[in-house]
Amino acid sequence: MANGSEWVLKREAGDAQVWRKTLPGMWAWLLQRVSAILILLFLSLHFFLPYRRPLQFLLLLVVAVHASLGIRVFLIDLGANVKTQKALFIVCLLLAAFGLFFIWSYLPLGG
C-alpha cells in the first residue's frame, strides 16, 4: 500500500458521476433531509415576517414534502414491501402536491 497506508476510493459528493447515478431511494432521502433544514429556515423567518404570502407558500411546500416522505418512511419501517419504494416515492410526492393545493386553495392563510 502507498506509504504503508491503505488507499480507499470514496463516493465524494463533488464527483459528477455520483449525482448522475443517484437513484430514487437516495433522492427521497436527500429531499427529506433538505426539506427538514428548509423547514427550520422558513419557520424562523415566519416568526419574524408573519403573513407574507410567498413565505407561507414556501413553508407549506417544504412541510408537505417532508411530511409525505415521512409517511413513506413509516410505511417501509412498518413492513411495507420494499419493492414498492419507488412507487411510494412518486405517490408521496403527488400526495404532497395535492395537500399543498388543497390547503393553499381552501384554507384562509393570511387573507
Binding site: 502507498a2 476510493l9 431511494g25
Partner: protein
Amino acid sequence: MFTAENAENALSACSAVNDGWGKMVYTFKIFRFDPQKDNAPYEQEFRVDMGDSEKTTVLDGLFKIQQTQDKTLSFRYSCRLAMCGSCALVMNGKEGLACKTLLKDLGPGPISLRPLSHIPVIKDLTVDLKSLINRLKKMEPYFVPKSKSPEPAKIKPTSKERKIIGMNTECIACGSCVSACTMMHWDPEYIGPMGLNRAFCLIADSRDWTGKRWERVADENGVYRCHMEFNCTDVCPKHISPTRGIHYLKRQIFWQGMKDLNPFRRGKAE
C-alpha cells in the same frame, strides 16, 4: 471544418462507434493506480474494437485491453457467469458485475470503470476483500445450532419463516452493496449491508443460536446506521434487498425492547 483532430474528438466523446464494417469500437476510461509506484490515481483511456457481437460484456472488454494494449492492467475475475462475485466494479457510476453487464447497455458515452468504493485498492480495479471479510466476521456469519439434536431440521419451503428470509440467502459477497452505501463513507466501522444481510438470514432462522450477533446488530455500527436510501438494493446483481433484511432486524429489536418493558415478562428466562 473536418480535420483528423475533430474526428478523433468525436470518436472519444462517443463510446460505441460502428466503423461501417460491422465492428464496434468502444472507448473505456479506466481508473489506474498502483500504490507501489503512483502518488495519485489517474484515468487512462483505451479504444477497443469489440467485433460485431451484441453480447460482449465489460469483462470481455477488459480481457481485450489486457491482451492487446496494456498487460499491466489489473482486475479480478473468476467464474465469468455471475456466480462468484469477483468481478464487481463501478461501471459508469453504478456498481455491478463486469461479467454480467453488456457493453451495449452502458449508453452511448465513454465507459468509465472504477474499483469498488469504500474498500482498499490493491491495484487498478482490484480491491482488497479482506476488509469485507473482516466486516462479515463481526457478524459471526456461520450457522450455530440451538439444539444438539442429530435429527435434520424440518423447515418447509412454504413456511412463513422461509418466506421471510426469501432470496436474501443468495448473496455472493461481491461487495457492490458496500460500495454503493453512502453510510460506509461516513462511518467506516459500519458493518454494512452485506454483513447485516447475512445476520438477517441467520437471525430469522429459528434453528440458529444468535449468540453475540444480536448485540452487534443493535449497536451504534449496526442497523441504525442504515438511512433507507436503497442504494444497496438498487445495485445488487442478485436482486437481493439488504434494506429489507435490515428493516426486519430493526423491527425485531423494537419488539424485543417492548417485551423487555412488559412488567409481567421482566426477569423471566427466555
